[in-house]
Symmetry: C2
Subunit: 506 residues, 2 copies
């Protein structure tokens, strides 16, 4: 059985579902195949309507959902209410992406002659991959779980989704799935557009299920690597879009450190402790200049951290991993404990306490360069631009890198941007990496291990691209073409297209 726990009391509350058997996973896969053609046949307008009805159905159960998710995650009603808003916004955003239609990447080359001879009529568009699997994330019971970005973008693409419910919030997963099913029903969508499996073993079976055509995952490097290996080891491998782990370095340039140490200290402390440090975009490494201004900044940061209280983490596993890793890295060579938050000892349950460490730059290596999921920040000092760039090189790829710089830092900042653009997916300027907007221009990804597939994003409009593949129609008569591909489409089917090499907007 899959049990729902209350992290605040460290106790089990209810049994939510039986772990899914292999036969059950296969049956869900079969049902998803049947749903795939119906979902495709709904067209862009039909799926846009479905996504909006799903958002409505989630909103209708807002109070319930927030209460259940809070009981399972201890993230608090304010954060979870905001997260649910983000989730319904995201579903509606993908409705807009569908209506826009540029995501189809349509290109039409009319028949013509080329230096190689005659060219036939060719019409290309993107088409859904078929049923896909999504793994819910522990730290976002809504926005990166059952009704989250992977699900929203896959449904928009026309791919039925089977979600592996995360062990940290099975009850939330179940109610979310019911709400999505209600939204699907109201929009005339087929049964089985979103289905659930429970249990880690079922998750592995799901990745190897032959009917599954791609996987979306957010989680740890170890868990993600294991599933990636299953996906790529299949007789017919499939894409595995995993968001695994990132250190997310934050650089404070000298002039910025001198000019606004208090502002940066407060912002950085807020960012690395936000949500008890349980963000994939948490800044895990701060690179601060040597000298008086860096000293002052770290002192302010330490004072801020000492005033922050410990808080309940998502699950026993998350808390245990955080405690083990933070003890390990605090005891690593060259590491000093600068500050700790208030009161871990007196609390029951699965608590995490903010921790600020400093490491000699020469000792920045090994586990200090891996993501520690929880409220810990490692600071290191640099004495020159060269040393700073060398430290960033050692830090390796990540989802984000942040630069705090004043205009007087411009020369260094230019070098930093040039170096970081080869290593990360998002460069944050005078701000903090936690907080990932849902928008057309957002990118959430980076070279391994930030994500398994640096080419694609799990947040923002282009997340839909992961669930689509191109098809070219050669000389196919208009009566057999998709409605967006004919020469003169009806108004409802007009989308941005490249026609004979030129972009044409509707």
């Amino acid at each position: 059985m899959v049990t729902s726990f209350d992290p605040r009391t460290a106790s089990s509350v209810e049994e939510v579902a039986a772990a899914s058997s292999s036969d059950e996973v296969a049956a869900l896969g079969e049902r998803a195949v049947a749903a795939a053609s119906a979902l495709d046949a709904m067209g862009r307008a039909g799926r846009a309507a479905m996504l909006r009805k799903m958002a409505d159905a989630l909103e209708e159960r807002r109070d319930d959902l927030v209460a259940i998710a809070d009981r399972e995650s201890a993230l608090g009603p304010a954060r979870l209410g905001g997260e649910l808003t983000r989730t319904t916004f995201q579903l509606r955003f993908f409705a807009e992406v569908l209506e826009d239609g540029a995501y189809l990447e349509i290109a039409i080359d009319h028949a013509g002659t080329t230096p190689m001879g005659p060219r036939p009529d060719l019409r290309r568009m993107l088409r859904p991959l078929g049923p896909v699997a999504v793994f819910g994330a522990s730290n976002f019971p809504f926005a990166f779980s059952v009704p989250g970005g992977d699900t929203a973008s896959a449904l928009a693409a026309g791919c039925p989704v089977i979600v592996k419910a995360h062990e940290a919030h099975p009850a939330t997963s179940l109610v979310c799935a019911q709400a999505l099913a209600e939204g699907a029903r109201r929009s005339g969508a087929p049964e089985g557009v979103v289905q659930l499996v429970f249990g880690q073993a079922a998750g592995a079976v799901l990745v190897e299920e032959p009917r599954i055509q791609a996987v979306g995952f957010t989680g740890s490097v170890a868990g993600g690597r294991a599933l990636y290996d299953l996906a790529t080891g299949r007789p017919s491998p499939i894409p595995f879009y995993g968001e695994l782990g990132a250190l997310n370095a934050l650089v404070v340039c000298p002039a910025a450190a001198a000019d606004r140490p208090a502002e940066i200290a407060t912002g950085l402390a807020g960012s690395f402790t936000l949500g008890v440090g349980q963000f994939c975009t948490k800044p895990g490494l701060a690179l601060v200049p040597e000298g008086a201004s860096g000293d002052a900044l770290l002192q302010l940061l330490a004072e801020d951290v000492r005033a922050r209280v410990s808080a309940v983490m998502l699950s026993e596993r998350v808390a245990a991993a955080f405690h083990k890793t933070s003890v390990d890295i605090a005891g690593a060579p060259g590491v000093r404990r600068l500050a700790e938050g208030i009161g871990a000892e007196v609390n029951e349950g699965w608590w995490g306490t903010p921790l600020l460490l400093e490491v000699d730059p020469d000792e920045l290596s090994g586990p200090l360069l891996e993501e520690c999921f929880g409220p810990v920040l490692v600071a290191a000092r640099y004495r020159s631009a060269r040393q700073l760039l060398e430290l960033l090189d050692r830090a390796g790829p990540a989802l984000t890198a942040s630069i705090h710089a004043d205009p007087a830092d411009d020369q260094l900042a230019e070098e930093l941007v040039g170096a970081l653009v080869t290593k990360v997916g998002r460069i944050v300027w005078n701000a903090y990496p936690t907080g990932v907007a849902v928008s057309w221009a957002m990118h959430h990804g980076g070279p391994w291990p930030a994500t398994t597939d640096a080419l694609h994003t799990s947040v923002g409009a282009s997340a839909i691209r992961r669930w689509l593949r191109p098809v070219a129609y050669q000389d196919v008569p208009e009566r057999l073409l998709p409605p967006e591909l004919v020469d003169d489409p009806l108004a409802a089917h007009r989308v941005p297209r490249r026609v004979d090499g030129q972009f044409v907007l509707p």
Copy 2:
């Protein structure tokens, strides 16, 4: 040593190069890293100029190149001359793709408010992955080898290329690389934008070389799978874009079979024997209706095949594999030999003879459903639409599927298009799949094993997408942004962009 052979005489001609050692591969990787930033810094205009100079340099050596490639491949001067034209066209085409600039997929979201609160300024564009590896293909000494589509698209993206020269044409590879280097020099490009390694072992080392960020491959399922497993098994896995094997079914609908059996028989015989059947898009399975019109079509096809002469294949390995596989499938249960071409017995060297087989539809399975690289076609008869769809289902994914249909076949054709669009990358109507145009709308790919990555294409403009990853710039000042990302770019940097959700053309 890597030896150049003459397939017409089945004899070795010269030793071209030593097999590359692991140390040499590492040194080339190091050099490619140095070239990467210079290639990036050339900008779109600089790389477009480089691609055109490379095309010029190849054209200047056209006579040499065609002669050497003909001696190594036996494909004949006419075909190879056309292939070189395609290759230089392709390099120039990617110069146009660069100048167009839409491939950067730029999106700009100005700072604003959202239901989740304030959103920062976000600017997204695609950036080069870094050095990549390309494996030359035996069957296209130019267009899918050293100066081919993978190289052209990767250089356009800004990624230095290390090509593993194919054993079937090492001398051609060397001269092509010299021409590309000459073109690079003339355009002020850095040393090392295109480099070569020789030998199968070096190819495997290259895929595991940590500096390599992606791999392009065209070849067999077995070879592709082995390299795919290396690429995905790395400590930091990288994308592997392999084009492996495809059966490429061709369906003749009943009315078309009745109306134009001679035309279809001639076209089909020409297509499956073109280039001695050594095309990844070769039609390998013909599905023909039962009854008199299907009988007539197969009889005409058999007559055509009997008049075709055997020809020299690319290499000893290709010829041996073809002979073994065609003997295996000709001897499989339910298979009859309908026709064979002229004169295999009397020739020396590595010859392939056209072969037409028929199989009972119930016996269409196993090796009959795998690509056989060479001039063999398996025909099967269908008695109903249901049986036809079932046979196509068994045939599985492929690069292409072709439908020959008259207007009277429309109902069946609609079902076929609906079924095939989930299985193949290109649907060909009343034509033959050999011949893959280089254009904006072309797609060359399909679900495994057609390609390892169904999402991307190895032919056409969007082939560039494989070598690029997104980066988002958050609140970064204009003075530090790439020139295409500022609000009001100079004329040279104006490209199609999505600004605040709306497409804006330059």
